[in-house]
């Protein structure tokens, strides 16, 4: 059985690196809908993909990935909302881990909204 002992080594390593995760005003907030509707349509892998990528690429000072309840657009789940200070909220719909990573790369890092995955684009195609 794997034990918790390894955490001691991690703690040693993390000494002096703590306190980096303070939320700040300039952070981009990325919110994944995790109510019944979101979970049933695949929000868990989307959330995991986003938060793992943010951690791996050391973006946690710039980007904060969190979860929320039902956004009220269940038919469009999984939904990812991007809230950037001073900008209008962007709502991405019918997300998959792959699409979410594209959003991370192009929008959250690159600054370009991925229009084809937005709620607006989904509603126009009806």
């Amino acid at each position: 059985m794997k034990s918790l002992e390894e955490l001691r080594a991690i703690r040693e390593k993390m000494q002096g690196k703590v306190g980096l995760r303070e939320e700040n005003e300039n952070q981009i907030r990325v919110v994944v809908g995790m109510a019944t509707c979101g979970i049933a349509s695949g929000a868990r892998p989307v959330l995991t993909a986003l938060s793992d990528a943010v951690q791996e690429q050391n973006l946690s000072e710039k980007i904060c990935v969190t979860q929320t309840g039902c956004i009220g657009l269940c038919q469009y789940e999984p939904i990812v909302e991007v809230l950037e200070p001073g900008k209008e909220k962007v709502t991405y719909v019918k997300m998959t881990p792959e699409k979410a990573l594209e959003v991370l790369r192009l929008h959250l890092i690159g600054g370009q909204v991925v229009t084809k995955y937005t709620l607006g684009a989904a509603q126009n195609s009806l």
Partner: protein
């Protein structure tokens, strides 16, 4: 819901919203009894008798964004459809315990699914809540108690950091495999 583990994630989110400090989740497969039992117990705000009676009704919800509340009804239906049972006990101000028993070998039982990811998600995204997760299979078991993790790490080290987050995932996956010998549940 395609997996039992997603039902667990969904119902445990109710405990999070109930303001729980401690959430206990137990997944116990007993091939000898042909059962798979899931217990989610919290010390959150609990429900009134009235709410408790209504909570398995899909057209009852406390939220205002929509008129239906399907999380608990889904879980109940999934369990009862396999010859199992479903119970919810709650006391206002004390907490709520949800128990679902599935027929382990029943043809209609959905797979347990990626339970380690569910527990990982709950722990990493709800750092302020303590979790005690126990996984049992045929008499063997392991437990992850985040209070023990916190005692080792101290108050400053986040569970969401890459090192601790991957440790939690590996711990859950390795110990699950050792407990059930890789059984397909």
């Amino acid at each position: 819901m395609p997996e039992i583990s997603l039902n667990i994630l969904d119902v445990a989110e109710n405990s999070v919203r109930a303001g729980a400090d401690l959430i206990r989740i137990t997944v116990s497969a007993k091939p000898e009894d042909d059962t798979l039992t899931v217990v989610i117990a919290d010390d959150g705000c609990g429900m009134t008798k009235e709410q408790e009676l209504q909570v398995t009704d899909p057209f009852y919800t406390t939220r205002t964004t929509r008129k239906v509340g399907l999380g608990v009804p889904f879980f109940k239906q999934a369990a009862e459809g396999t010859g199992g049972s479903f119970r919810i006990e709650s006391e206002k101000g004390k907490g709520t315990t949800v128990t679902a028993v599935f027929g382990l070998s029943h043809i209609d039982r959905m797979p347990l699914g990626d339970i380690s990811s569910t527990i990982h998600t709950l722990i990493v995204f709800n750092e302020k809540i303590d979790f005690v997760y126990t996984y049992e299979y045929g008499g063997r078991s392991f437990t992850l108690d985040t209070r023990e993790m916190r005692a080792i790490l101290g108050a400053d080290v986040s569970f969401a950091g890459p090192e601790v987050s991957s440790f939690i995932r590996e711990y859950l996956e390795a110990n699950k495999a050792e407990t059930d010998g890789g059984a397909d549940i």
